[in-house]
């Protein structure tokens, strides 16, 4: 049926309105020669017999080859609201176009695609935001690491002079047991060291590195230190300080400085938040462990804050004096690192009790005491105060000590008269201690070696030469720790 026929026939018009395609025949110049079913609602404006094909359709016809099969161009937008599949069959002199109405299918697919693209754009934006967030986080982490490195470096720098102060205060105290000044310097130094170690420990936690120097720590001197350190402060504030060791516990397996640090932190906290009553440090045996409890009669902690107090830089009472908010965070991490767990029990208005347990040394961890009497030692240390202090200690134990400030002089001294043990600092003006020990060990394989440093990250320097170090000791060095390191080195050197 032609358009002319259908348009004058009511039945024909009804059929055309329901038809879903039209057919057009055009000559090689694009002139429409014939239309079938052209009266549809989506029919294209301008598509009339005797007229030129609309440009969009002409563009399609122009690119079609002569072919015996139709060429399909799906979903062609002919006008704002008309979408068709265009089929073209061309024989060179004329082309036949079949336009298949796809509006219904198009609408559904278009709506789906529009939503899919909207969602995709949102997801892209989300991904971009996540990327930016990740970038910012990486920047913040880098800045935090830089800050931590700075704190660690500065703390290490502080260790040497504090070490020297503590060592000389120890010596003064040994000479004048009844004098108050050396004891005061000792206590202040320990307190300063604890603050420093807290900072350093926090920096280490952020750098995710922590080194422990586990040894068998004597409990009575540690408790005595605490009594001395906090006794006066408690008295001056009208508080009672009880330090009790009912089971006469003698040894615990711990890092001495870290254990000292934890106890100072807990007692400082108790002192800070207790205004009347008493503070107690109780040490007792619990099976194969030693339990330490620090209790106070202060105002206690709300239940909701019991975990929050272990977060860094958190101060439940912002008016608390002299607190950086690091003590409990660091203490919990340190106790965990020493295989314990720091817990708290508290109720508002009813005081607080902080407890942790550490193991008693196993039998094979109890060392035989090596005699240092007559031991010949070459001490290489460029800090004159520290060097003198070590010399005095070692001579007190009966060792024969020669001291030099540099690597070159150490080599010359050793060649001149070999010794049983070398104690050297890691960083020296003309080289590093590890290289020195490596060199001297080659000369004398049975030589006992001790490396000392204010930095506890020595792996970088040890490298493959780690085996040349029998014992490592991190500053600040106490007489007891030095003695222990010397004995370890002698024992290891003997066993080779």
């Amino acid at each position: 049926m032609s358009y002319a026929d259908a348009s004058t026939n009511k039945l024909g018009l009804a059929v055309l309105k329901n038809a879903r395609y039209l057919v057009a025949v055009v000559d090689k110049h694009g002139l429409v020669k014939m239309l079938e079913c052209p009266g549809l609602p989506w029919c294209i404006n301008g598509l009339r017999v005797g007229r030129q094909l609309p440009e969009s359709l002409q563009a399609i016809v122009d690119i079609c080859d002569e072919s015996t099969s139709t060429q399909l161009f799906p979903y062609v937008q002919i006008s704002d609201d008309v979408h068709t599949d265009v089929h073209v069959l061309s024989n060179g002199s004329e082309a036949q176009l079949i336009l298949h109405d796809v509006n219904v299918a198009y609408e559904g697919a278009h709506e789906f695609q529009q939503k899919a693209h909207d969602v995709s754009l949102l997801l892209e934006q989300q991904a971009e935001l996540n990327r930016l967030l990740e970038e910012k986080r990486a920047e913040a982490d880098a800045a935090n690491r830089a800050k931590s490195r700075f704190i660690a470096t500065m703390s290490n720098e502080f260790r040497s002079p504090i070490s020297s102060i503590m060592a000389h205060a120890d010596a003064l105290h040994a000479e004048r047991r009844d004098a108050r000044e050396p004891a005061a310097i000792q206590r202040a130094s320990w307190y300063l060291l604890t603050l420093l170690e807290n900072l350093l420990e926090q920096a280490r936690m952020e750098e995710d590195e922590r080194k422990l120097d586990l040894s068998n720590v004597e409990i009575p001197p540690m408790l005595s230190d605490m009594r001395q350190l906090f006794g006066n402060q408690a008295r001056s504030r009208g508080l009672m300080l009880k330090v009790d060791n009912p089971d006469q516990a003698s040894l615990v397996r711990a890092d001495e400085i870290r254990l000292h640090q934890v106890l100072v932190n807990l007692l400082s906290n108790a002192m800070r938040y207790t205004h009347e009553g008493e503070i107690s440090l109780l040490c007792r045996r619990q099976g194969d462990a030693i339990e330490f409890c620090v209790a106070d009669t202060g105002k206690g902690i709300d239940e909701g804050d019991l975990e929050r107090i272990f977060e860094p830089f958190t101060r439940i009472n912002p008016t608390g004096e002299g607190s950086a908010g690091l003590g409990l965070t660091v203490s919990r991490k340190l106790v965990e690192a020493m295989q314990g767990e720091l817990t708290v029990q508290s109720k508002t208005g009813d005081g607080s009790t902080f407890s942790f347990s550490l193991p008693i040394p196993a039998k094979d961890q109890l060392k035989t005491i090596e005699n240092l009497e007559g031991l010949s030692v070459l001490l290489v240390e460029d800090d004159v105060d520290v060097r003198e202090m070590y010399r005095i200690w070692m001579e007190d134990w009966g060792a024969h000590v020669r001291t030099v400030p540099s690597c070159d002089l150490a080599v010359a001294e050793f060649e001149n008269d070999p010794v049983d043990l070398i104690l050297t600092d890691l960083f020296l003006a003309d080289g590093n201690g590890v290289e020195l020990l490596t060199l001297l060990r080659k000369t004398r394989p049975g030589l006992a070696t001790v490396l000392c440093s204010s930095s506890d990250s020595i792996e970088t320097y040890l490298g493959r030469d780690g085996a040349v170090v029998d014992a490592f000791i991190c500053k600040p060095v106490s007489a007891k720790r030095l003695e222990s390191a010397l004995q370890t080195a002698i024992r290891l050197a003997k066993s080779v």
Partner: protein, 172 residues
């Protein structure tokens, strides 16, 4: 009058339709309506050598899928029949669309060797949100002529189409 078929390809929502509307009708619509299938527009351009007709096929967006069928659908392959040149369009604010454009370029190089291809980094009006260094990187690319355009402001749109028209005219 010479007539050249130019296909616009690229990821969805990079501004292909907006570029065509800017070039053909000198209008811009902020609303985003996705293109499904193809829309064909024409415009005559007066060159020194005489007028030419550009028949512009504004194609639906390519998906950045892993498979070729996702990148270039069978519909898109049909639309490319008889093409004289391809404009690859990317959105400078979305790195993923630049990657899609480069993948399309590789595909065209393989399937339509010798076809002139230019890259349009669109949305230059949002240059402060572009990926850092993107423009320099694309412009320094020796394998593809790159234009920075904005359908919103019209920046470079006319020049880019004219440049391509001249290139096609000279080539003929």
């Amino acid at each position: 009058m010479n007539s050249f078929k130019i296909c616009l390809m690229g990821a969805f929502s990079v501004g292909k339709t907006s570029l065509v509307r800017r070039f053909v009708h000198e209008v811009f619509d902020q609303r985003y309506t996705t293109t499904l299938g193809v829309k064909i527009e024409t415009r005559e351009v007066e060159l020194d050598s005489g007028p030419v007709k550009l028949v512009i096929w504004d194609m639906e967006g390519a998906d950045n899928g892993d498979r070729e069928a996702e990148l270039v659908s069978s519909r898109m392959k049909a639309y490319l029949k008889g093409v004289n040149s391809v404009m690859l369009v990317a959105d400078g604010t979305r790195a993923v669309t630049v990657r899609t454009a480069w993948r399309l370029q590789e595909w065209l190089h393989r399937e339509w060797p010798g076809i002139p291809v230019v890259m349009l980094l669109n949305k230059s009006d949002l240059q402060d949100k572009w990926q850092p260094g993107l423009q320099q990187k694309e412009e320094s690319s020796k394998s593809l002529l790159c234009f920075t355009t904005s359908a919103l402001s019209g920046e470079n749109v006319e020049d880019t189409f004219r440049h391509l028209a001249r290139q096609l005219s000279e080539k003929q």
